[in-house]
């Protein structure tokens, strides 16, 4: 057995698992789809219940991963195919590293290309709150802090390919050969790291164990027609609100309305948007929303003390350590108004957003004319989860989350020997639980490798014999 592990997904679960294995002396191949690591935790402003700055507690780990001698990090990459050796059980993994059009060995991370790039596009990382450049890094604290160029939106690459394919004329009006447009990044790069003919790279790795930590996504607002189908600019989801709160976000941490940049004085938080809804959404509870909504309401009140925050809830789920106290703090210290009732309609009228709900404890219908609405949308498996599952011979449950060997006693072990699972790819969970599972999965891998060790094998055989 090859004593090397593959970890797919470099969110906090993948990071934790990789560090645990690497720090025990074994090699780790860590594959991440995005240009840099950190997953959703990198998008958060503060974490509950401590209100620690998310970047501050995470960057020591991301930096360690980036520098670790035992971790081979492939970002902007995806696992394309897996075969397994029938005798040894080892995995042969084919990884595709997408063309970034930047030579990361020459790039110093100075950021000039991003600064000079003239074109902005919608940023998935910013969840619709702000744009990014075509040559970009996800955030100032990105690990690796090397940019990628989004080919689909790059004027240089598109015009270059158009000229080569004959879609644009080969010579310009003065008879000279046509030049691709823009190219600002290459002009300003001090080390000549822009490589226009870079291609996807296929890398093959052999590993003895795999941990799947592919994470989650949020339920699309388009599937919530009663809440505006995602078409109302000032109705955003939880992660988008995090970007409004984040100091490294598009508004530098000021809570401003997406439509006009005004300060919202009436903010409504709607819990269970899509969760606990077998008819139109998902049947399960997404676990983290009650806590992060309280956190977001508290942070909003800290930033806009004269504002009013309302939270529509069905039940409040606060089971972790310090969680119930955190909820009470939101209501008692920060004046967040909790209304027990589902929101039935959200629509925009003029400048305001009309939120129609109920307050069942006082037996009244409630209508709030809000400036900003934050939907705590359901946690769903990351897009592409099912393809990864299929590659490794795993199944997903009816909600798309990975199925473990036994949900009570072996939640980090998959039915396939040598493949382990961690984090929100298994189901909604908060950061402490994710990290615990990641360490657990790492321990399973280490145990696998250890059993392989001749001395340990000897001891085990001895024990079995006696």
């Amino acid at each position: 057995m090859i004593e090397r592990a593959l970890v797919i997904g470099a969110g906090i679960a993948g990071i934790q698992a990789s560090l645990d294995i690497a720090n025990s002396g074994y090699e780790v191949v860590l594959v991440e789809k995005e240009p840099s690591i950190g997953g959703h935790m990198a998008q958060l402003s503060e974490t509950f219940p401590t209100l620690d700055c998310s970047q501050c507690i995470m960057t020591p780990r991301t930096v360690e991963v980036g520098h670790h001698e035992n971790i081979r990090l492939y970002t902007y990459s995806e696992v394309e195919g897996v075969t397994r050796d029938a005798d040894s059980g080892d995995f042969n993994v084919r990884i595709r590293r997408r063309a970034a059009y930047v030579d990361w060995s020459l790039c110093t991370g100075c950021g000039v290309c991003q600064e000079k790039c003239p074109f902005k596009v919608e940023s998935l990382f910013e969840r619709g709150i702000g744009p990014r450049k075509v040559a970009y890094t996800l955030s100032p604290q990105a690990v690796p802090n090397k940019p990628v160029i989004d080919a689909d939106n790059c004027r240089y690459l598109q015009s270059k390919w158009d000229i080569e394919a004959g879609r644009l004329p080969a010579v310009d009006k003065s008879g000279k050969p046509s030049q691709p447009k823009c190219g600002a990044c290459a002009k300003f790069c001090p080390t000549g790291a822009i490589v226009w003919d870079q291609e996807d790279q296929i890398i093959e790795e052999q590993v003895g164990a795999v941990i799947l930590a592919t994470g989650f996504d949020l339920f699309p607002q388009a599937r919530l027609p009663e809440y505006g189908s995602g078409l109302i600019p000032n109705v955003v989801d939880g992660l988008a609100f995090e970007r409004l709160l984040a100091a490294s976000g598009p508004t530098a941490g000021k809570v401003l309305r997406p439509s006009d940049g005004a300060k919202p004085l009436e903010v409504v938080f709607v819990q269970c948007s899509g969760s606990r809804d077998p008819e139109r959404g998902v049947p399960y509870c997404s676990k983290i929303c009650c806590m992060y909504t309280a956190k977001q309401a508290i942070l909003y009140k800290h930033r806009v003390p004269e504002g009013q925050a309302y939270v529509f809830y069905i039940d409040v789920r606060a089971g972790g350590k310090g969680y119930e106290e955190f909820l009470n703090r939101a209501q008692e210290e920060d004046g967040v108004v909790y209304l027990r009732g589902k929101v039935s309609r959200i629509f925009s009228e003029g400048d305001k957003i009309i939120v129609k709900g109920a307050d069942t404890l006082s037996n009244r219908t409630v209508e709030i004319h809000a400036d900003l609405v934050v939907l705590a949308t359901a946690v769903i498996p990351r897009l592409g989860n099912s393809q990864v599952a299929e590659m490794f011979g795993l199944s997903a449950d009816e909600n798309g989350f990975y199925v473990a060997l036994n949900d009570e006693l072996e939640p980090m072990v998959s039915p396939v020997p040598g493949v382990f699972l961690a984090g929100t790819a298994l189901g909604p969970k908060d950061i402490p639980e994710t990290v615990a599972q990641a360490s657990g999965a790492a321990a399973k891998v280490l145990s696998m490798f250890q059993r392989n060790h001749p001395k340990v094998e000897e001891l085990l055989l001895e024990k079995a014999g006696s």
């Binding site: 027609p225 009663e226 189908s229 309609r345 629509f347 925009s348 009228e349 009309i354």
Partner: protein
């Protein structure tokens, strides 16, 4: 095309205008409506409890009549449609219930009658394109807000006529007639329905919200497919009880606008019986419209 027609009680009484305009429009579109030879009230509500076979007998009897008359029935009243469609869906999926009901009726129902609302026939069989070609008086510039109410669309998995949150069927009909269609947020909010009888102030309040929303979005007129919605939106405006006097919004059936746009004679518009007179809304709009003379083709 020929199809069995179930008028229902309200179309024979309070909603006579809907009936008359509907029949005239059908004729103009070469759709032959053959009335069910024998019919009674549909019951007007679909039972809220699933083990209520008594309430299903009346609609089942209608479906049986339709079965004998060709197996496909249409109606104009949204409530009749709602009851028949849901009964049909229910019995189709619960054969033991169908069997039980058949013990009580004089003639057994085979469970296969198709129920279509008139709007579905327009959309799926006749098509909006065909309708727009037959329009001789396009209602250009008339700002009309379609009001769907509840029973025409919900519950979605039993009715399945259109998307209950963003419906299009009345929008498309009005577009085919040349209207400027006004969407407004309250277009699928409840009008209060039968509470008009037991708790009249509730529909008055609900309709006030609906009318105010339509007005805020620029509507000159509201169009609906349900006689009870029409009543609940029209009646409270009788003394300009809502909004400012002079800003009443007439509430019409979609077939009435169709009759005007198709150039049919004034008799067929069915405009009597409205609390808010619709005719002034057409003033200054198109002089020829008010003459009520059928417009010659060509």
């Amino acid at each position: 095309m020929s199809i069995t027609f179930f008028p229902g009680c309200t179309l024979s009484t309070k909603a006579a205008g809907y009936d008359r305009s509907g029949r005239a429009v059908a004729q103009a579109l070469d759709l032959t409506l053959e009335d069910l030879p024998e019919w009674q009230c549909c019951g007007a509500t679909f039972p809220l409890s699933t083990d209520n076979s008594m309430a299903l007998i009346a609609p089942t009897r209608l479906l049986t009549q339709a079965q004998n008359a060709g197996g496909h029935v249409t109606t104009l009243c949204a409530i009749c449609f709602h009851v028949l469609r849901r009964t049909q869906h229910f019995l189709e999926n619960k054969p033991e219930m169908l069997e039980r009901i058949n013990w009580f009726t004089e003639e057994p129902y085979d469970g296969r009658t198709r129920v279509s609302h008139f709007l579905e026939l327009l959309r799926d069989e006749l098509t909006w394109e065909m309708l727009s070609h037959k329009v001789v008086r396009p209602l250009t510039g008339l700002k009309v807000a379609p009001y769907y109410g509840c029973l025409l669309l919900r519950p979605q998995n039993e009715i399945g006529l259109d998307d209950p949150d963003s419906p299009k069927i009345l929008h498309d009909c009005l577009t085919a007639l040349g209207c400027e269609v006004v969407s407004f947020p309250y277009q699928t909010e409840c009008c209060g329905s039968y509470l008009a009888v037991s708790k009249p102030d509730l529909p008055e309040r609900l309709s006030g919200d609906i009318l105010a929303s339509a007005r805020r979005n620029g509507a000159q007129m509201i169009v609906t497919a349900c006689p009870l919605c029409q009543f609940n939106l029209d009646y409270p405006q009788r003394e300009a009880a809502h909004g400012m006097p002079g800003s009443e919004i007439p509430v019409l059936y979609f077939t009435q606008l169709m009759a005007i746009a198709l150039g049919l004679e004034r008799e067929s518009w069915g405009m009597e019986g409205h609390y808010v007179d619709p005719l002034p809304a057409f003033e200054g709009f198109q002089q020829s419209t008010l003459s009520g003379q059928p417009v010659a083709e060509g």
